[in-house]
Subunit: 136 residues, 2 copies
């Protein structure tokens, strides 16, 4: 298990799409997009990013780890807030450039640093081609 944070390099398209090997396609910035939903309700909680180490730690520990782009550091979600995310299911998309975590959230069950349950608390309303954000 020592090399678990070294994922195999992505192979041909057929392997990527139909194979059984997780070979995540990290971007030029070394990151892969992660979508996190609440395991029971399906609510979209957040969109974040993982580098190889964050993904490996998530696999190893069963808790969500991300790469904080603003702080430029590895981020064990909930380590300070108590809102630890326990992974219930983990999926990958067709071309392996996105991860989907279904989680149970500890603490107060929240996710967003603004105090909301989900980071997606505003709708984009469109009126005569003009956009306006409205709290959902």
């Amino acid at each position: 298990m020592c090399a678990i944070n070294t994922f195999p390099a992505p192979g041909p398209k057929a392997d990527l799409e139909e194979g059984t090997v997780l070979s995540p396609r990290f971007g030029a910035d070394g990151l892969i997009t992660c979508v996190t939903t609440e395991a029971t309700t399906g609510e979209l909680l957040m969109v974040a990013h993982m580098n190889a180490e964050a993904l490996a730690r998530t696999v190893q520990t069963g808790e969500a780890w991300y790469w904080s782009r603003s702080r430029q550091e590895l981020w064990h979600k909930g380590a300070t807030s108590g809102q630890v995310q326990t992974v219930v299911e983990m999926l990958v998309d067709c071309d392996q450039d996105a991860i989907w975590l279904k989680v149970k959230v500890a603490g107060d069950g929240g996710c967003c640093h603004t105090g909301r349950q989900s980071c997606f608390y505003r709708k984009i309303e469109v009126t005569h081609g003009e956009t306006r954000l409205v709290v959902a």
Copy 2:
């Protein structure tokens, strides 16, 4: 409406998080992440990217437009497949670097280029620290 694809530059954190102005934070590559779910079931269909023009066209037309990173071109989802995505609701996250589209899909209701309904058709199973992809 002529300048709808020119979104205002992101302002201070308080405006980004609590304001009513959509000021999307496109990355260095000019793209913002978009999560697309089925409006009724909530199923996660795909994760894709939008540049300012794709986002503007989505707002203007009520149908999902993305930026295809592989083809490096604007992508009206469903234009060739018939799987056009009509936007039912559109949300933005706290720091405005991710968009969430809730859509109804035309045609056969599918989304993935492999023929599946959703791009997320494989679970990541972990056994003794080793990962394996299994069709969900």
